[in-house]
C-alpha cells in the first residue's frame, strides 16, 4: 500500500550539506520516527519526502514509483505541521474540507470524510468554531483531522507535540499511537524527544548532522547501539561514558583500566580488543549495581541523592566526570558516602576510538 524508499538522498542549502546520501526503506504500515538533536536534518528529510523542498540528488520512491519530480500535493502524503498551520479565518469544518474541495470531490463525499475524521478525533463538537476559539490540543487534533480526510498513503508529522504542555503531550502521544493502530497507515514522525521516539515507534531513525546513524526497533537501539552517539542519545537518563584502556587481553576475558577508577576484569565475548587500546566504557545508569562492600570494582563518592519515590538517582563523582546511578526503590544512601559500584553482567558496552561499538558474539 505505501512503501517508501529513499536512495542516495542529498540536500544542500548553499554550501551546507543538510542531508548526506541517505538510504532508507520503510515498509507499509510502519510507524517510523526520525529523531536527533537540533539541526540534524530530520525536519528537512521529512520535508523532502513531503515535497516541500527539492532534492539536490538522490531518489524518493513511494510504492516503487519515483516522486522527486512530483508536486507535493500529488504524492499521496499528508502533513501535520509543528504549528498546525490551520487557516485562521476558516471554521474547523472548512479547514478539514478545503483540501478535498480543491480535488473537486463531491459534496456528499466531503461531508462523509469530514464527519468521519471529526468523530475519530472527537472534534465533531467544534466543527463550526474557528481555530482561535480552540485550545492547543484541540487545534492539534484538527490538524491531524485535516490529514486524515485526505486519506493519504503516508502521514507525515513534523514535531506535532512540541507546542503542547507536558501533560497534554503524554495524552496526545497515546492518541497518535492509537490512531496508528486504527488506521494502519504508514506514518513518519519527527521529534527531538527520544522518549516519544522510544514509546511510539516501530522503528527509529537516528540522525546526526545530516547522516543516518542507525535505524532499528527501539529496543534494538537501546540494547545494541551502533556507535557512541546513538548510545548516548537513546535512553534517558543518558548512558555513562568512562574513558579507559585495555591492559590485558585473554581468550575469554580482558582487563580494563578506567581513568581513576581502577581496573576490572570483564568477559570478552569474542570482542576484537588489543592490549593498550584506548576505549570508552559505556554503562547505563540503570545497569550499575551496588556491589558487596569492598567488592568494587569502582568506588564512587555520592554527591547528590535525588529521591523520586519509586526510584532514586545517585549522582556520584569520578575523576573522569560524573557517574549516575539509577536504583529502584527509595535509596538509603547519603550524600558523602562512598559506594562500591559495578556494571551489571552483560549490560555494558565498549566503544573504540572511532566511536563505533566494539561488537562481540551474541547480544
Amino acid at each position: 500500500m505505501a512503501r517508501l524508499t529513499i536512495e542516495g538522498l542529498s540536500k544542500t542549502f548553499g554550501v551546507v550539506d543538510v542531508i548526506r546520501a541517505a538510504n532508507l526503506e520503510i515498509a507499509d504500515g510502519e510507524f517510523v520516527v526520525f529523531v536527533g538533536p537540533s539541526g540534524c536534518g530530520k525536519s528537512t528529510l521529512l520535508r523532502l519526502i513531503a515535497g516541500l523542498e527539492e532534492v539536490s540528488s538522490g531518489d524518493i520512491r513511494i510504492d516503487g514509483v519515483s516522486v522527486v519530480r512530483t508536486a507535493a500535493a500529488h504524492r499521496g502524503v499528508a502533513m501535520v505541521f509543528q504549528s498546525y498551520a490551520l487557516y485562521p479565518h476558516m471554521t474547523v469544518r472548512e479547514n478539514l474540507s478545503f483540501g478535498l474541495e480543491n480535488m473537486r470531490m463531491k459534496k456528499a463525499e466531503i461531508a462523509r470524510r469530514v464527519d468521519h475524521a471529526a468523530k475519530m478525533l472527537r472534534i465533531d463538537a467544534y466543527l463550526d468554531r474557528k481555530p482561535r476559539q480552540l485550545s492547543g490540543g484541540q487545534r492539534q487534533r484538527v490538524a491531524i483531522g485535516r490529514a486524515i480526510t485526505r486519506d493519504p498513503k503516508i502521514f507525515l508529522f513534523d514535531e506535532p507535540l512540541s507546542n503542547l504542555d507536558a501533560e497534554l503531550r503524554v495524552l496526545m502521544r497515546l492518541e497518535i499511537s492509537k490512531l496508528h493502530n486504527r488506521l494502519k497507515n504508514t506514518m513518519i514522525y519527527v521529534t527531538h524527544d527520544q522518549v516519544e521516539a522510544m514509546t511510539m515507534a516501530d522503528r527509529i531513525v537516528v540522525l546526526r548532522a545530516g547522516v543516518i546513524e542507525q535505524v532499528g526497533a527501539p529496543l534494538e537501539l537501546y540494547n545494541r547501539p551502533r556507535n557512541r552517539f546513538v548510545a548516548g542519545f537513546i535512553g534517558s537518563p543518558r548512558m555513562n561514558f568512562v574513558p579507559g584502556r585495555v591492559t590485558r587481553v585473554g581468550d575469554s576475558d580482558f582487563d580494563l583500566e578506567c581513568d581513576g577508577l581502577g581496573s576490572m576484569t570483564l568477559p570478552r565475548g569474542g570482542r576484537a580488543v588489543a592490549a593498550g587500546q584506548f576505549v570508552t566504557f559505556g554503562v547505563r545508569p540503570e545497569h550499575l549495581e551496588l556491589g558487596a562492600a569492598g567488592a568494587g570494582p569502582w568506588r564512587l563518592k555520592v554527591e547528590v541523592v535525588e529521591q523520586q519515590g519509586s526510584s532514586a538517582y545517585l549522582h556520584c563523582s569520578a575523576p573522569a566526570g560524573e557517574v549516575l546511578l539509577h536504583v529502584p526503590g527509595q535509596a538509603r544512601q547519603r550524600e558523602g558516602e562512598v559506594l562500591d559500584v559495578g556494571p551489571a553482567a552483560g549490560a555494558w558496552h565498549l566503544f573504540g576510538a572511532d566511536e563505533l561499538r566494539i561488537v562481540g558474539e551474541g547480544p
Binding site: 544542500t12 542549502f13 548553499g14 523542498e53 527539492e54 539536490s56
Partner: protein, 357 residues
C-alpha cells in the same frame, strides 16, 4: 546545487532556498523590472535634462544624454568654433569649423589650415559633431538669477523644516509623555481631542486658518506656515505607543532620586524614545519640505516663498526657462532623495507600523 549555479543565468535563477526559478518568477521579475523603469526613469530624465544646454533642450526628438557641440580653438579666432562634418558634392567629407552662419549658407574654416581662408558651404551638407557634455550652466544661472532669490527660498524652506520639526518633536513628545505615563482625570478627553484633529485636514479648514493666521499678523511670515502644523495626532500616537513600553519602574526610581518630572522627561524619556522620535522626525521633515497648499495660501510674497512655491511659480512667468526649471526641480528633490537612500528602512518600517495599527 553546483550544477544550477554553474552558469550566470542559472545563478540568477536561484531563489533563496536554492530552488530553481519557474515561470511565475520570471513574470515577477519582469513586472518588478518594469516598475523600476517606470518609477525611476522619469526622475532620472529630469536630472539628466537639467544638465543640458538651452539649445540641447529645444531639440526634438530629445537626445538621451546631455550633448553639446564639440568645439575647437582655431588660430586667428578668439572664441572656440563648433565642429561640423561637411559632405561635399563629390561625396568627400571633411571636418570643418563654423565661423558664422548666414541664411542657408555657413562659412567654415579648416581648423588644421586656418590660413587657407573661409569656405562657404550649404547648411544641409553640414552635420554637427557633438559629444557628451555635462553642462552646469543651468545650475549656475539658477543660483544667480534675479539676484539669488533662490537662496532666500532655500533658506525659508530649511528654516521652516528644521524649526517645525524641532518644535513638533518636543511638543508631541510632551503630550505623549503626559498621555502614556500619567493617569489623570480628563486624559481620555485630551486623547479624544487630539484624535479629533484627524478629522480636520488642512483642506477643510483652509479659509479659517487663513483668517487666524492673518489675525495673528503672520501672513507672509514663515511662522504662519509653522504654527498650524506642529501638532500632529499620528506623531503623538506613535510616541505614546512607544513610551508605553518604557517601564514605569524607571520613572519611579528617578522620582525617588528626587528628579523633577521635567528632568525625567528630558533625561530619561526622550533619550529612551529615540527610535520613535527618529520616525516622527523623518515624517515631519518630509511633510514640511514638501508642503504646498498651506504655503500657497499663506505666503504670497516672493521673499517668503518656499522652494515648492518658487518651483511652482516658475511655470507662470513668460518665457519659461526650462533649463533652470529642471535644475530647480532637481535641487528641490535632492535633499529628501539623498536622505531617503540612507534612511529607507526607518521610513518603510515606520509606515508599515502606523498603517497596520
Amino acid at each position: 546545487m553546483a550544477e544550477a549555479a554553474a552558469t550566470p543565468l542559472g545563478f540568477l535563477a536561484l531563489k533563496r532556498g536554492g530552488r530553481r526559478a519557474d515561470w511565475t518568477d520570471w513574470v515577477t521579475y519582469g513586472y518588478l523590472g518594469l516598475g523600476v523603469v517606470v518609477m525611476l526613469v522619469p526622475v532620472l530624465w529630469v536630472v539628466l535634462s537639467s544638465f543640458k544646454t538651452e539649445g540641447n533642450l529645444m531639440e526634438f526628438p530629445p537626445t538621451l544624454l546631455p550633448e553639446a557641440a564639440k568645439t575647437v580653438a582655431v588660430k586667428g579666432y578668439e572664441r572656440p568654433l563648433p565642429l561640423y562634418v561637411v559632405k561635399s558634392a563629390d561625396g568627400r567629407t571633411a571636418t570643418l569649423a563654423q565661423v558664422r552662419r548666414v541664411g542657408i549658407e555657413a562659412q567654415m574654416v579648416d581648423p588644421a589650415h586656418p590660413e587657407a581662408g573661409l569656405v562657404t558651404v550649404p547648411v544641409d551638407a553640414a552635420t554637427p559633431i557633438r559629444h557628451f557634455h555635462v553642462g552646469t550652466g543651468n545650475y549656475t544661472r539658477l543660483l544667480d538669477s534675479a539676484g539669488g532669490t533662490i537662496w532666500t527660498s532655500i533658506y525659508n524652506t530649511v528654516f521652516i523644516t528644521v524649526v517645525a520639526t524641532a518644535i513638533t518633536l518636543v511638543m508631541n513628545a510632551m503630550a505623549a509623555f503626559a498621555l502614556s505615563k500619567y493617569r489623570f482625570r480628563g486624559s481620555g478627553v485630551a486623547l479624544l481631542a487630539i484624535l479629533a484633529t484627524l478629522m480636520v485636514p488642512a483642506t477643510v479648514v483652509l479659509v479659517p486658518i487663513y483668517l487666524i493666521v492673518s489675525e495673528l499678523g503672520l501672513l507672509n511670515n514663515v511662522w504662519g506656515v509653522i504654527l498650524p502644523v506642529i501638532s500632529t495626532p499620528t506623531g503623538v500616537f506613535l510616541l505614546r505607543q512607544y513610551m508605553l513600553t518604557i517601564p514605569d519602574e524607571l520613572l519611579e526610581a528617578a522620582r525617588m532620586d528626587h528628579a523633577s518630572e521635567w528632568r525625567i522627561f528630558w533625561r530619561l524619556i526622550l533619550p529612551l524614545a529615540t527610535p520613535a522620535l527618529a520616525v516622527v522626525a523623518i515624517f515631519s521633515i518630509m511633510s514640511r519640505w514638501n508642503d504646498f497648499l498651506l504655503p500657497l495660501v499663506v505666503l504670497n510674497k516672493p521673499e517668503v516663498y518656499t522652494l515648492q512655491l518658487a518651483l511652482a511659480g516658475y511655470s507662470d512667468e513668460n518665457g519659461i526657462q526650462y533649463g533652470m526649471l529642471l535644475a530647480m526641480t532637481t535641487l528641490t528633490a535632492l535633499p529628501l532623495a539623498v536622505g531617503f537612500l540612507f534612511l529607507q528602512r526607518y521610513i518603510t518600517t515606520g509606515i508599515a507600523s502606523t498603517g497596520i495599527k
